[in-house]
Symmetry: C2
Subunit: 263 residues, 2 copies
């Protein structure tokens, strides 16, 4: 009736729900009600076999189901654990407001301070290259025009949470601190404004999907963790698109917050 004190339900032999799904339901319920909190070890396969009187393959199917849902992680040789969630950063709709830049903070650092997390940037790569058709379209350039490309990865408390690639037209960025690993106080948006392009607004497009294997590796994503893809375009007061930022974010680590007008 009880493995390690966390399982309460019993199998219903008359249910048309497959046995492995019934077992997954019990474990999911224990996780959602907090009887199995974050980081807790689930009962072992042997304990579950003993408790439910089913074959080991049935237990494995149940555990696989929970892993695909992103609720548990399997640690080789150690067992199966309730997945720990990173601290969630709530991205506010004023996160690129000028007052933050004036305080000398780049957006990521300002937001991280908000959740009391230690933030880091690594894997910084800067290059100049011919633009792809998609980026050219967003920046109203011709495909093949030169852009400065800044790639980097952001981490929070030692966990990678986001990769970002910015594309800035070369006529704006070339030979400026935008091409330096550390572009200085207020980040690249402050430098774009220094170049005479006062920012007016940003457009953000948000989609979500499962990560590619490369994304899962770079962001160290456990199974069952989708990513946000967020493509942001910055416009100056003349209406010119002056930057595109293509971001892949662990969906675990973010809540995005926006304001919409009613009029």
């Amino acid at each position: 009736m009880n493995a390690d004190g966390v399982l309460t339900g019993e199998l219903d032999p008359h249910s048309d729900r497959a046995v492995f799904r019934q077992i997954a339901d019990h474990l999911r319920d224990a996780i959602q009600r907090g009887r199995l909190p974050e980081g807790a070890k689930l009962p072992s396969e042997a304990q579950l076999v003993e408790h439910y009187k089913v074959a080991r393959m049935t237990i494995r199917s149940a555990l696989q189901e929970l892993q695909t849902e992103g609720l548990v992680v399997s640690e080789h040789g150690r067992g199966v654990f309730v997945r720990r969630r990173p601290p969630v950063r709530r991205l506010a709709s004023d996160r690129f407001a000028r007052r933050h830049r004036k305080e000398g903070k780049a957006a990521f650092l300002a937001e991280s301070a908000q959740v009391g997390a230690k933030s880091e940037v690594d894997m910084i790569e800067i290059r100049e290259q011919a633009t792809t058709a998609e980026v050219a379209d967003r920046l109203s350039l011709e495909a093949g025009d030169e852009v400065v490309v800044r790639s980097r990865r952001y981490s929070l408390n030692g966990h990678p949470v986001e990769t970002a690639v910015s594309y800035i037209p070369a006529d704006i960025a070339r030979g400026t601190p935008i091409t330096d690993p550390n572009p200085g106080p207020g980040g690249i948006y402050a430098r774009i404004e220094d170049m005479g392009h006062t920012l007016e607004r940003f457009e953000e497009e948000v989609s979500a999907r499962m990560p590619t294997p490369d994304e899962a590796r770079i962001l160290q994503l456990p199974a069952g963790t989708p990513v946000f893809r967020l493509v942001r375009t910055a416009f100056d007061t003349e209406g010119r698109a002056v930057e595109v930022c293509d971001t892949i974010m662990s969906a675990d680590a973010y809540v995005l917050s926006y304001e919409l007008p009613a009029h």
Copy 2:
């Protein structure tokens, strides 16, 4: 060298990448380059076994990997197919603008027309109940205060894409067309405005995660399809929160678009 003309890569016996992952890489590449377009049937397990000279379990692991990533679906007895994507609705940041309500359209219908899709609403349920703590907090009510709750499911071209549950304080909604299955031209926002609550702005909070089994069933989601959870709060010109809408959307079917101010 080639199963059904779609596979080009060969296994690298010296790679430290597991054989099943190498096979998944080949198939993923064929999908991404369009050699296997949407709806195409993958080579059969037998063909893949023959092509790669590996055990059937290895092929199954490779196919399982692609299914978890949401790239393919397995149809029992028929084979494995490249997943068809629903038409993507691009939700614009002016989607709740008054001019759309004035034209008598509710938001979902207006957006669907935009992608030339046929939209439907079903599973409509309307009830009055005591509010939960979370909804009370968002509506600045006391937990236990009465709210009118409207649940419904939206479909596009016959495929469910979204469920939505609206909570409206009972003092606004009770005894009005908001409690009718069809609330009339412009939807419930138009009716809330009829009650003297002119809408000023909306706050939207966007998160993404894997669906619960219930959500996967109601939205008929194939494996590897995350959902957006979008919680929107409507505020009137007095600053009162007059509705909360809690939406679960197939992430496949949407790109969300927003504007952010720079000042």
